[in-house]
Amino acid sequence: MSVEVVEADEKPRRRLFFLSAVVIGIVLVLVGQLFRWQIVEHERFQAMAAAEHQRARILVPQRGTIVDRNGRPLAMNVITYDVSAAPNLISDPYLAADRLWPLLGRPRDELINLLTQDVPYVLLARGVPMVVGETIMGWGFSGITVEPSPHRFYPEGSLAAHALGFVNAAGQGFYGVEGFYNDLLEGEEGVLHGERDPWGEIIPIGESQWQPPREGRSLVLTLDRTIQFMVEQELAAAVERYQAQSGTIIVMDPNTGAILATASYPTYNPNTFYEVEDEHLFTDPASGDHYEPGSVFKIITLAAGLDTGIITPDTPFFDSGSIEVGGRVIQNWDRRGHGNVTMTDVLVLSLNTGAAHVSTSLGAERFYAYVRRFGFGLKTEVELAGEVPGTVRVPGDPNWHESDLGTNAFGQGLAVTPLQMIAAVSAVANHGLLPRPYMVAQIIDQERVIATRPYLRQAISPQTAEELTEMMVAVVERGARLAAVPGYRIAGKTGTSQMPIPGGYDPNSTIASFVGFAPADDPQFIVLVKIVKPTTSPWGAEVAAPVFKRIAEQLFLMMGVPPDNLRQQAMAE
């Protein structure tokens, strides 16, 4: 009897125990889940919850503008619209095409073809003007989407394209100042965090955090739009006139290094950079491409000779027509000997033998020290993306040869950029002070203006610069007469260099160049002209010098520089 009672009591107790275990198990699971939600994955769930009623809006900064030295806009921002369509949502594609084609400038049939495709998305037009975008938006066509997008706009078209560079669809600047100063120009994004309403808009009185964007800094360039335009016109005309392949012209203030104009041809329109097929066209030939300067480099050789005192302008030299340096025979451009000449004659007649004589008299160490002192083989540090340092082989380099000392003296066997060359000759115009070329005059950061201070360093003595200037004046007066402008004393030097090809030099191609400054006694500008592969004449004196003259004539007018006699008379009074 008693055994039965015990059995009857055990059953409910076991059930109770089982039930308790189940409940405890469930509670443990729940506690575990709670622990996971509240402690382990607290942040994830908090973020998910916040996302339900919070919104973060990225505040995009305005890209800084770029203006020329007179405040004329060269790069600015506009809103354009991208028009796209979802063909499967368009009920009447023919009607849509009828309305769209006159505004988008695309053939009607082409639009019908796009709108009848069985795809969810087609791009109809990119970068249409604001008025067109707003008109299409106003129609309220179902299936047609019009989206605004900020767009970089260059109101002068292709003007100064190589100096400016361009901005791609993602807002990244490439080449020129757009590339060099991309970080400064693009600014920094801001953000607005806040509670959102059912439509996704941030509630004005809700809790919010605002971090304003930092607007992009604006740039004031040293370029002068009027001079730039004139130079580009002259360059395009010269390339056509001499049936050349390409060309580059730089105008600079030799006293400061401020670049007033830099033009290269062929060029492109940065508004439609994506249409350019050859990417090499984006590289700025003035700073991103090098060439053998030819006889223009004799200025540097003679500057070194004068500065070290081994020659004077009147030092005699017997020109036999050839000279041997390092086992290589160097000849003059006309293959002739000119007999007894002076160092001034060496420059006027552009004698390779005379230049090689000076460099060998200097010795490799001193000659290359001067080449470096003038900045060759080093970047000028101009604010343009893609600058190259050029190539100068010096003793100790594996591929330097003793004969290089002779050929380098007249600008062969080394490569320089046009910007390096014009900066180096600026030192002659500027009492021996070598300027660092610069393109950006001011950086404007909201209310703060950071002005660029010109940087100059002594390359040669003022006396050397003065003597060399007179020798260069003799070049224009007795040699390169096509560069002369009546009423003005101009200092200059021509250059004709061959183009290196694998295994030697191309016998049929030359680079004709001229560099000159004026007025010689008080230089206001320096101009470098480089014409690649002219076919009407290979010589710098016949191709580049006349281009210099045309540009100088106009610069005198634009810069208000009267003829020497009037100016000197006015100064005297």
């Binding site: 506009v78 009185i205 040293t222 002068d224 335009f229 010109p454 009037l566 100064m571």
Partner: protein, 155 residues
């Protein structure tokens, strides 16, 4: 119980009523006050929300106007571009000067200025850029003024 002063029954009734009336009045006042505060709060909040949305709307309008302004500035800049001006000038018969003659004018005031500019340039060559710029600006302004005068001249 000689010391005790019990109020007569009708007096007790009046006092109780007075207490009840006061309670009702206080409660009423409190209710009115809470209602007023509530109404004020709701009005303020609703006003704030409306104003907030209005601000948002105005900001959007401002942004749109800024976009339109930028567009107009871009159009102006494009219309004033050097290539357009040159084409327009040529179409109107303008030509580059064939011959330039400088006429020295004795004691012309600009000369003193030019001489001082030249002196300054020598003293501080770094400042030349600004001077050249103003000379160019003057030249350009003069040219534009001549152009304007020509346009406004009777045929």
């Amino acid at each position: 119980m000689a010391g005790s002063q019990e109020l007569p029954a009708h007096c007790q009734k009046t006092s109780k009523r007075r207490v009840e009336t006061r309670t009702v009045v206080i409660a009423g006042l409190m209710l009115a006050m809470f209602s007023l505060v509530g109404w004020l709060y709701l009005t303020q909040t609703s006003q704030l929300t409306v104003t907030g949305y209005r601000i948002q709307e105005l900001q959007q309008r401002k942004a749109l106007l800024q976009e339109e302004n930028a567009q107009l500035e871009a159009e102006i800049a494009e219309m004033e571009s050097a290539s357009r001006l040159m084409a327009r000038a040529r179409a109107m018969g303008f030509q580059p000067p064939q011959r330039v003659t400088y006429v020295p004018v004795p004691n012309y005031p600009v000369r003193a200025e030019a001489a001082s500019v030249a002196r300054d340039q020598r003293a501080a060559p770094a400042d030349y850029g600004a001077e050249a710029s103003s000379a160019l600006a003057r030249w350009w302004a003069g040219l534009v003024a001549q152009f304007d005068a020509w346009l406004q001249a009777p045929p």
